[in-house]
């Protein structure tokens, strides 16, 4: 579980996050949603330790990220997997090399053991027969699968996804969302997903927090969305015509 307590972050005296409190539970798909510029990515980067908060605490289970020394933080990061918005695959490596990379860096497994594990995760993300392909030869959806495979190859306790289905067609986006949710349940990972895609929210939103201008405005599950009383959240959600109609339909 990840706990965020009174997290504040500013850049050049502009407040980006203000007193954020949140709990991201294990085995659940936790979503951070909000408009562009609402502070989602900054919050995610604070969780990853890529940004140092101005104040507040972040706990990974009982370990306070903000109090860790750089060496301890590096060790904690080995328990994290991340899927970046643009996949962030290493251009110079093929699929297999991309996925095997964390194993080579941090384990003392033999080549055969590493290959076995790589093939296991490749099979898990349905990418069989793509081992030798370069990232440039893959479609957007396949690149995301490779990124997911690389993120889970070390059996992480925490999985972070920054807009995992951006740039994907709706069908592929749902496949990727479901894959992340399945993996979260299967491995008991604490997953945090950053998104502004309402389809994802309705599909996999088990615990959702909504940010607006750096403030947490709303928290709940996908089932609670239609009962929200928060005008900013409603404005965000019902900017989608389909959801507006769905709400009207439910009222009737």
């Amino acid at each position: 579980m990840i706990t965020v307590q009174n997290l504040c972050k500013s850049f050049d005296q502009v407040n980006i996050l203000e007193k954020i409190n949140a709990k991201f539970e294990r085995g659940k798909t936790n979503l951070i949603i909000g408009q562009s510029g609402s502070g989602k990515t900054v919050l995610l980067k604070c969780l990853l330790g890529l940004h140092i908060p101005n104040s507040g605490k972040i706990f990974f289970n009982d370990v306070s990220l903000t109090d860790l020394k750089s060496k301890e933080r590096r060790l904690l990061r080995q328990e994290m997997g991340i899927v970046f918005q643009g996949s962030a695959l290493f251009d110079s490596m093929n699929v297999e090399e991309n996925i095997i990379f964390p194993l080579k860096m941090f384990t003392s497994k033999t080549d055969d053991e590493m290959l076995e594990r790589v093939n296991e995760v490749i099979k898990r993300v349905n990418l069989v027969d793509s081992n030798q392909k370069m990232p440039s030869e893959l479609s957007g959806g396949m690149q995301k699968r490779v990124a997911i495979a690389r993120a889970i190859v070390m059996n992480p306790k925490f999985l972070f996804c920054d807009e995992p289905n951006s740039g994907l067609d709706p069908k592929t986006a749902i496949i990727i969302d479901n894959l992340i949710q399945e993996i979260t349940k299967e491995y008991g990972i604490t997953t945090v997903i950053n998104t502004h895609d309402m389809n994802s929210v309705m599909e996999i939103g088990e615990n959702i927090i909504f940010l607006k201008d750096g403030l947490k405005e709303w928290e709940g599950t996908k089932e609670e969305i239609f009962n929200s009383k928060n005008t900013n959240f409603d404005e965000f959600v019902y900017s989608s015509e389909i959801l507006k109609k769905a709400k009207e339909f439910m009222k009737k």
Binding site: L50, K71, R74, R77, G86, A88, L89, D91, K104, M105
Partner: protein, 245 residues
């Protein structure tokens, strides 16, 4: 003020490059790959430029010797001195700042804009060491390129002089042996080793700290070339002042 900040962050970057080391089994293939791209991949252009510039130096020296009292072996002497002391170590380094430097900036910069560096950092890798150290090691072989450049520069001068009938083969060879000071070779290689370090680290700095998108990668490559050249010229002056005066 900003320039001082940048110089400071450059030295901090250097400190981090030699911080936590990446596993040797991961680093080794990176070093070999960088040797292939940065050193072996530069041999062709270095050979071409050195040979013809050596020839031009010889021809221009010959054409400017209108006084019959000046011995013809001066062509060989001038070619040797120009090529060994300045052209090969300094001007070849500026050319390499364009070729090798741009490659380093754009490859690291692209990794920055496509979040590959963030991905490495999240994995707990010392990205400074992983990305920059192999380039520094690969460029330790840079003096071999400069040796090659020196040889081809003098050879170009020889061929231009002899086949252009500016002087005889014997006179040119005599010229390249006259007043030879072995320390000049040491001076050239001291410069080369320092330049090789600058060639690896200044472009890496511009790539690593790049902000923005694809357009900025191109801009950073140009800026890195300018700064690498400026620093090489300045350091060249300082080293010359210290070692030769």
């Amino acid at each position: 003020m900003k320039t001082i900040e940048k110089i400071g962050s450059y030295f901090l970057m250097l400190q981090k490059v030699f911080g936590k080391f990446t596993k040797w089994s991961v680093l080794r293939p990176l070093i070999f790959k960088d040797i292939e791209v940065l050193i072996l991949g530069s041999i062709g252009i270095v050979a071409f430029i050195s040979f013809f510039v050596g020839g031009v130096v010889a021809i221009q020296t010959a054409l400017n010797m209108s006084n019959p009292l000046i011995p013809k072996n001066l062509i060989g002497y001038a070619t040797r001195q120009s090529v060994i002391m300045e052209f090969a170590p300094t001007f070849m380094s500026i050319i390499m700042a364009g070729k090798v430097g741009s490659y380093i900036t754009s490859s690291i910069g692209t990794m920055r804009v496509t979040e590959q560096i963030d991905a490495l950092e999240v994995m707990g890798i010392n990205t400074y060491n992983y990305l920059i150290f192999p380039k520094i090691i690969a460029l330790l072989l840079y003096p071999f390129i400069i040796t090659f450049s020196m040889f081809l520069g003098v050879l170009g001068g020889y061929i231009a002089s002899v086949y252009g009938e500016f002087c005889s083969s014997a006179l040119f060879i005599e010229g390249i042996q006259i007043d030879f000071i072995p320390f000049h070779i040491q001076y050239a290689f001291i410069k080369t080793i320092i330049f090789s370090f600058l060639l690896a680290t200044i472009p890496a700095y511009h790539g690593y700290y790049l902000k923005g998108g694809a357009l900025q990668v191109g801009k950073a490559s140009t800026t890195s070339f300018v700064w690498t050249s400026v620093v090489i010229i300045f350091v060249n002056y300082i080293i010359t002042q210290i070692l030769l005066v």
